[in-house]
Symmetry: C2
Subunit: 341 residues, 2 copies
């Protein structure tokens, strides 16, 4: 079994995956698929060199099968299909004590601060594994981690049936939020400027507006009888998104901040006051968001395979990241088949 | 009975108060006190000329006694002490239908869009009057309107006993929020740079930090064992306040936007995401906020008289507004004694 080692400075090397016997409380899984996340691209570009030690395997959106379990692990056995929740909180800080284990300042993000999933064999803390049914669609299951980001965001947005939701930015997370909102019974408008993402969102059946061509504010108010949107998800991380997010909600509406903004942005705080908006920061996920994402995958109603742009062996990691960074391919989500060399 | 008429261009004239018999659903009150609000100062400065028609009486923070009631008004009688809730919503728009009568886009703000309280006799919609006990302290009661802003803000901030609250800006509303938070059992830190406001906040028993002299962020984290504040109230309307508000809360903490920001501000949206803050716009009040403010005034535990800088007859309105605008006096709240010529 192979592994892709990040060597620093936009280079992966391919080597053997180290088979590490699980210690107490650990489990070793054979990774089936591991999705390439925007965070992995940041690693590739060297933005996160301060958080890892090359050569290091990265990747954290992983699904696979238990190979062996360590001492004290009683709820998992070899052959079980599992998905990893890669955020390991300290459990003792003020955040954790309030249940905010997703935003623990000492968060160990497995696949960044410790070895990741772009390899065949992966030894991880067993308490972070969620068991899946034996007949689960493993390609769908490979999207559980980003889907749990979406279920977290939608939960924070308090989306219920009949709500009118606007998704600003239809990358993988925005697209998954759109799917989860629709599954909740909400009406969804997707705002996106990238042509291939517009196309995919339309193929998924969404009402898509390109705000560079259409007046999105007028569109949303027209569609809602002059009321405005119940919930707006800001997933662009741009000034244009920060401007738009305070123009769309109804009075008393909600804005969920999902994108990681590189810099402070100009924000119309007067609109937040005047129309009594609630702006909600939503980051990562907790156990219940994983449970909800798993429930959605098991139900099988979400067309998640349409978000998978390609499935590639570990040996093609270098070219895959180069294509993503170079913008040569309009990828939505690429899965690495960690079982394939 | 006299009335102060705003004539435009920083001028009031003093004339007779017109005694208007109440029509159906109206009541005529004899105004005891009417507080001078920052909004009235904006009127004086000509900022709201588009919303009123000089010569017009302004003022909306009013308490008084019923003189007569119009047809169909059965729950009030002459002699009753009353306070006005000056925001009259349309009742039919999407906001009102959701109960957001405080942010109705068609809000009639009595004292701005119709005649106000700086006069002896005032005829108003009876359904906006809240009855007070006969033995209520009428000077305290004159602060019910701004106190209801504070009870609204504190309710939106979900402040409970044991919370650690920071008030950024100790003008009248910030000071009232501090009092309401303390009454709820919260620990309160007041941030203020103005020396006379610092002095008053200390006289009221608050822990006051001048952020131009003391590192407020360090102070708050030191005081909370490294956790941060549960709730921050932004009442400065400045870039410094917008910067500070995202530095103080604990993970999962709340920021209540109270100030009316004249322009968009730079805001650290990444901090809102990273620490999962909730930012809540809070404007005006609804009936239950008035009920809570009245309860607090009737209980009599708040030292509201300390916020009253002076009580002046209608005839001294011009000089009062000139002093406020000129910064000659360090007023917190001036009451106009509308019964005194």
């Amino acid at each position: 079994m192979k592994a892709a080692y990040y060597e620093g400075n936009k280079r992966f090397s391919i080597g053997e995956s180290k088979v590490i016997p699980p210690g107490p409380g650990q489990a070793r899984m054979e990774v089936a698929y591991a999705g390439v996340c925007g965070t992995d691209v940041h690693v590739f570009l060297g933005h996160m060199d301060h958080r890892l030690t090359p050569p290091q395997v990265v990747g954290h959106e992983a699904v696979g099968t238990i190979a062996e379990v360590g001492q004290g692990v009683t709820d998992l056995k070899p052959g079980d299909r599992v998905v990893l929740r890669p955020t390991d909180a300290c459990g003792t800080c003020p955040s954790c004590k309030r249940g905010h284990i997703n935003i623990c300042p000492k968060l160990n993000f497995i696949g960044i601060t410790s070895a990741g999933a772009f390899q065949g064999s992966w030894t991880v803390p067993a308490h972070l594994l969620h068991k899946l049914p034996d007949d689960v669609n493993m390609v769908h299951a490979a999207l559980i981690e980003p889907l749990a980001v979406a279920t977290h965001d939608v939960r924070y947005g308090q989306v219920t049936a009949g709500d009118f939701c606007v998704i600003l930015g239809a990358g993988p997370i925005g697209m998954l939020e759109a799917l989860v909102c629709r599954e909740k019974g909400a009406t969804v408008v997707v705002s996106e400027v990238n042509a291939s993402r517009v196309k995919l969102a339309r193929e998924l059946g969404f009402d898509v507006v390109n705000p560079s061509e259409t007046d999105l504010v007028k569109y949303v108010f027209d569609q809602t009888g002059g009321a405005g949107a119940d919930v707006v998800f800001e997933v662009t991380g741009t000034q244009a998104g920060a401007d738009m997010m305070t123009k769309l909600p109804r009075t008393g509406g909600r804005i969920v901040i999902v994108a990681i903004f590189a810099d402070p942005m100009m924000v119309d705080l007067r609109a937040i006051l005047w129309r009594e908006y609630t702006v909600i920061g939503a980051r990562n996920y907790v156990k219940e968001d994983y449970d909800e994402a798993i429930r959605l995958v098991v139900e099988g109603n979400l067309p998640l395979e349409k978000l998978v742009s390609d499935i590639r062996p570990v040996s093609r990691i270098q070219e895959t990241f180069e294509e993503i960074v170079g913008g040569k391919a309009d990828f939505m989500k690429v899965l690495i088949d960690s079982s394939a060399d």
